[in-house]
């Protein structure tokens, strides 16, 4: 069994940044295992721009952002294997992977960094009734056909879900010659970045149907049309509001799910809310020496934050390999009253250098409100926010000084307050 100090599962932006972080801490024996034929992960098919504003102060396209890291990894001579799929890991950090040239690879790691990203929720999971004809795609699959293969999945398109992937594909399909008839969104607000509403929908006059859902799909060989209906406060379709839209393609952008099948195999504890591992301030999961970062931990909106988080994970994995322990149980963070979850879930103040970034999402749209952080009963942070929305990840910075103020702190609460 080959041994490595750190094995990173996934060579997308998270995996690459983690590798770089670990190498910068001096670890030599790193190995990235990537299932695709090249590094870069999902960025390879994200040909639109909007990446790198924070990291490079430039607006780059996905492939350009990926290339910066691929080049860095090459420069640092970080070993990686392509076309290699990890099929098993266990809590002893033993990994089984497979590829054509080497067959079955059995690898032992001192530390593992989970960077597998996420997958899309399919039609079946939201149970849209109707036909199971051709022409129904997850937005990401359609994106791959258009951007990597160069082929159009359809001509007259309806998109369910106004998250960023749905919005980006609305524009993409339009530019390549399709007619996008509507973007249908279950919630009364859009799930994507506001800039994408402007440059993907408004620019092309594509209607956004908020508080609507698709109640049925009609079609024989291919989709012929979809029926949409308005929904009530419980998000249930309102009878009598049905509208039929003729189309030959339905794209689904109905949620991203962290890809944690492997994490399960290693007995990593997952959060019911995010679907990703529960981690502490050092991004270590409940299994010693297994760290997580990027979309597999929680779904991000900006790759720049994935990079920051992952460099951190890499550094901590390196420290772990060098003998540091991150096992001591930390203070539990609770997301309440509007805050759906926090990453990390536990903070051990001893492991904080200067500060720890706590990332979270709210469960609803809040205007003119505050993000408050309580250390036990005392409110330490009270930040005014003009707008908070589920589609945009938020961050609060908890400094070393704050923790020093509350040495007996048992619980930290992050919540939305009206005033």
């Amino acid at each position: 069994m080959k041994e490595y100090d750190i094995v990173i599962i996934g060579g997308g932006p998270a995996g690459m940044a983690a590798a770089i972080g670990a190498r910068e801490e001096g670890i030599e024996e790193i190995l990235i295992l990537e299932r695709d034929s090249c590094l870069g992960g999902i960025l390879n098919q994200c040909i639109h721009n909007g990446f790198g504003l924070h990291t490079f102060k430039e607006e780059l396209t996905g492939p350009e952002y990926a290339e910066r890291f691929i080049q860095k990894a090459e420069e640092m001579k970080i070993p990686y294997k392509l076309n290699t799929m990890v099929i098993d890991i266990n809590k002893n950090k033993e990994i089984v992977a497979v590829n054509e040239e080497e067959g079955i690879l059995e690898i032992k790691a001192k530390a593992i960094i989970l960077a597998m990203g996420c997958r899309e929720r399919p039609r079946g999971a939201i149970n849209i009734p109707g036909s199971r004809c051709a022409g129904i795609y997850s937005a990401g699959s359609a994106q791959k056909f258009v951007n990597i293969d160069g082929y159009m999945p359809g001509k007259e398109v309806v998109i369910l879900g106004s998250g960023d992937i749905g919005l980006i594909m609305a524009r993409r399909m339009t530019l390549e010659g399709a007619e996008v008839k509507a973007v249908v969104e279950l919630m009364p607000y859009s799930g994507g970045l506001k800039r994408n509403i402007v440059q993907c929908l408004d620019d092309f006059g594509i209607p956004l149907k908020l508080a609507h859902t698709i109640t049925s799909i009609k079609g024989k060989g291919r989709v012929e049309g979809v029926t949409i209906a308005k929904v009530d406060e419980n998000r249930k379709p309102i009878k009598g509001t049905e509208e039929y839209i003729e189309c030959d393609t339905l794209l689904l952008s109905v949620g991203l799910l962290p890809e944690n099948e492997l994490s399960n195999k290693a007995n990593v504890k997952l959060s019911q809310i995010t679907g990703g591992p529960e981690v502490n301030e050092s991004l270590q999961t409940n299994i010693e020496g297994i760290f997580a970062c990027g979309n597999v931990l929680h779904v991000h909106d900006l790759v720049d934050y994935v990079t920051l988080e992952s460099i951190n994970a890499g550094k901590n994995a390196a420290r772990y390999v060098k003998g540091e322990s991150f096992n001591e149980k930390g203070i539990e963070l609770k997301g309440l009253e509007g805050v759906r979850y926090t990453v990390p879930k536990y903070i051990n103040p001893k492991n904080i250098d200067k500060a720890v970034e706590v990332r979270f999402r709210v469960g609803d749209v809040y205007k003119e409100s505050y993000i408050s952080v309580y250390f036990d009963e005392t409110r330490e942070l009270h930040l005014k926010k003009r707008i908070l929305t589920p589609g945009e990840m938020e961050t609060v910075k908890l400094t070393r000084e704050m923790f020093d103020k509350y040495p007996e702190c048992k619980e930290i609460t992050v919540k939305v307050e009206g005033e």
Binding site: S37, I47, E64, Q199, D203
Partner: protein
């Protein structure tokens, strides 16, 4: 004549809600931006809106069949579709280097289309 317009800035993912005051078609005031880029965007968007256009073109003889491309800088919004028209039917021969110019002065905008990805030549005999 005074006109008010509400805009969302697309300069960065924050997406500030801005209110622009226009007088005789010229921007006289911008409110709601949190950086100077936002102010610039607001002014531009109300007088001469522009966008970066990203797309892809076919590649022959490469390790992959498509290469992603973009306008090197933003172009007038009303030239987006003409820009796409000019990309129609283009097939590049591998290798393609990231940053390589694909079309000069696309749609008469003075802006070039460049590749955003490097595509190596495939080893197969064609």
């Amino acid at each position: 004549m005074r006109e008010f317009r509400n805009l969302i800035c697309i300069g960065c993912p924050i997406g500030c809600d801005m209110e622009v005051t226009l007088e005789e078609g010229k921007v006289s005031e911008v409110k709601g931006n949190t950086c100077v880029r936002g102010k610039n965007y607001a002014e531009k968007e109300c007088t001469n809106p522009t966008r970066i256009v990203t797309s892809s073109v076919r590649v022959q003889g490469g390790e992959i069949d498509s290469v992603s491309v973009k306008t090197q800088s933003d172009i007038p919004k009303n030239k987006i579709m003409k820009c796409i028209e000019e990309l129609k039917g283009i097939t590049l021969n591998a290798p393609v280097k990231a940053g390589e110019i694909i079309i000069r002065n696309v749609a008469d905008t003075g802006v070039s289309i460049i590749s955003t990805k490097t595509v190596a030549k495939t080893n197969e005999d064609m």
